[in-house]
Symmetry: C2
Subunit: 379 residues, 2 copies
Amino acid sequence: VKKLRQEFSVTFSYPVIFTRDIFSTRNDTLPQLLEPAGCTAAVVVADAGLLQAAPGLHDTMRRYLYALPGISLREIVVVPGGEEAKRGERIADRIREIIHRYGLCRHSHVIAVGGGAVLDAAGYAAATAHRGVKLIRVPTTVLSQSDAGVGIKNGANAFGSKNFLGTFTPPAAVVNDSDLLRTLPSREVRAGMAEAVKVAVIKDSTFFRFLESRSGLLAALHPGTVEQLIERCAEIHLEHIRSGGDPFERGSARPLDFGHWSAHRLEELTGGELRHGEGVAVGIALDCEYAEMQRLLSSQEKERVLAVLRHIGLPLSHPALAELNIPRALEDFRRHLGGHLSVTLPRGIGAAVQVARVDVPMMEECRRTLLRRERVDEQ
Amino acid sequence: VKKLRQEFSVTFSYPVIFTRDIFSTRNDTLPQLLEPAGCTAAVVVADAGLLQAAPGLHDTMRRYLYALPGISLREIVVVPGGEEAKRGERIADRIREIIHRYGLCRHSHVIAVGGGAVLDAAGYAAATAHRGVKLIRVPTTVLSQSDAGVGIKNGANAFGSKNFLGTFTPPAAVVNDSDLLRTLPSREVRAGMAEAVKVAVIKDSTFFRFLESRSGLLAALHPGTVEQLIERCAEIHLEHIRSGGDPFERGSARPLDFGHWSAHRLEELTGGELRHGEGVAVGIALDCEYAEMQRLLSSQEKERVLAVLRHIGLPLSHPALAELNIPRALEDFRRHLGGHLSVTLPRGIGAAVQVARVDVPMMEECRRTLLRRERVDEQ
């Protein structure tokens, strides 16, 4: 028996650029990103929901992109937005077929413009074609600009499981254009803020105080304040990937998934009627109640978290909570992480702990508290 | 405009173990690999070609694997060997469906036992399920044990393109069992030696002299000598990935693909009748003729390379060479690499250069030389 040990490191690097009016002829963000790579070919994958909400955007994109010097843009592929983009491999396959048809190579670019689901599907296609065509993400929702859109995951749903397919593949670049958010329904903007509350509670008390003091402006969807929220949230997300010690999530801990074990199930139970961010808000509320019972949060701290969510206009509860099978949701979460259960709970505001066990009767008590609270709020 | 730069490194590490009789109860290689991961579930993907060539192996595997303490082996999935395993996503999908059915998580293992194509398909499935289930490769051919099986790629064919789908995903471990090679037809054993000649010529003159002095033993398929060839070839391959500076092949250079631009096409032109290793042998001969014309190899050095190939029993030419569209094969190769053309040629024996241009008439002259040589050899 002879044993060799292989070991090597790979460095990943990409810019995250905050800009406005990305498809204006005066904006050189995209040409600058495309040029240094010696890229000659690119395809754009655009979110049909975005194009519908922003009449004229398709034409603007077309005019801008086809005129870029030195770039041979082959096609603007319009794909359905939302979970439809991730239903199996249908959309990813369509994108891969286009990558093949136009002879794109590993140095070519897929430019994905849209919400998180479209970015996930396009990212999955790009990551698995030629073992990795370059991906430029242009997220167009508060949620994707502040969270997953700046991260390193992609995915598609399969066999009834969310994100069963996917890889960890850092993008070539991310461009956050605040002007693209203007087309979003206000409900989507608010839902997107839930991930910011999430990271603030478990990672950054200064950011939490910012959200507290600006909750009125955020509720009013004040553009400059929403931009500040996105920038800081994206920054924390990037820092977590960079410094968290486990970018490709080989361990069982998933510290950023605070509030998510129940959120995923609530989205499913409501058939997607509850937006992801809204589910996360309810999940945060539930886990804060539990953290208080575990003496990880004081009553006053918990109330501060719930108050921020409420002031922004996010739900703290939902009738579907009553149907949540808590042990099963925890087991599904464990299985998704792999290995042992690891649930993130806040410890005070701005820090977190991982717990390997959840006291189910106590969690059920927390659920009852939230459901009661909802009835009181409704009266 | 605000710009953040994300940068982080990920370290990949895996053992490559050389053993015998891996499924014997006295062999603890697999349990040792599975245990430290806290793995509870695993599925085996086995090459139908191997099981057919080795009657009794299926039962031996079954008895051994289901008896492993602490491991819950869910199924031994038998898949077709050879390129059939990589025809689109059919086989990869079947493996992913099984990963889903048995609730395997990111800490579970897929154990792939077979030739390069089966390892590629199983690896692609494992890499894209749950964003990466662990993969243990048990390569069962000389080619896969010495080359791709110890590397970091996986793949499947799609849209008529070889390896159009795939990722760079290091395995959790590789186990090379020399006993598994006994079932191979002698033609397959010989074909597998072509990659060893390849790396020796461009990377290691000592290894080349080893091959030269042992060519008689290699032609006779002497097991101990074949094992030595595999070990050294695997070692060079691992070292190249580790120290070559570009493990995920982001640049255009592909230094290990010496002889491959024509080999891929010859495999296609013969409908797979020419084995991959045989195509590589012809490709090496062709590029050595060219290297001599470019004064990169002396006539004597070239003859030494051709002699090793011939003594081992590998072809130096093939009638399909006459049909090779040289400019188009080079263009396909460039496109597959992405970016600029970069062809590896030997510089003396044991070193290499990358050339960005190939003189097509001169290469055609080299082809004629080989075709003539074949006719002379046949007489």
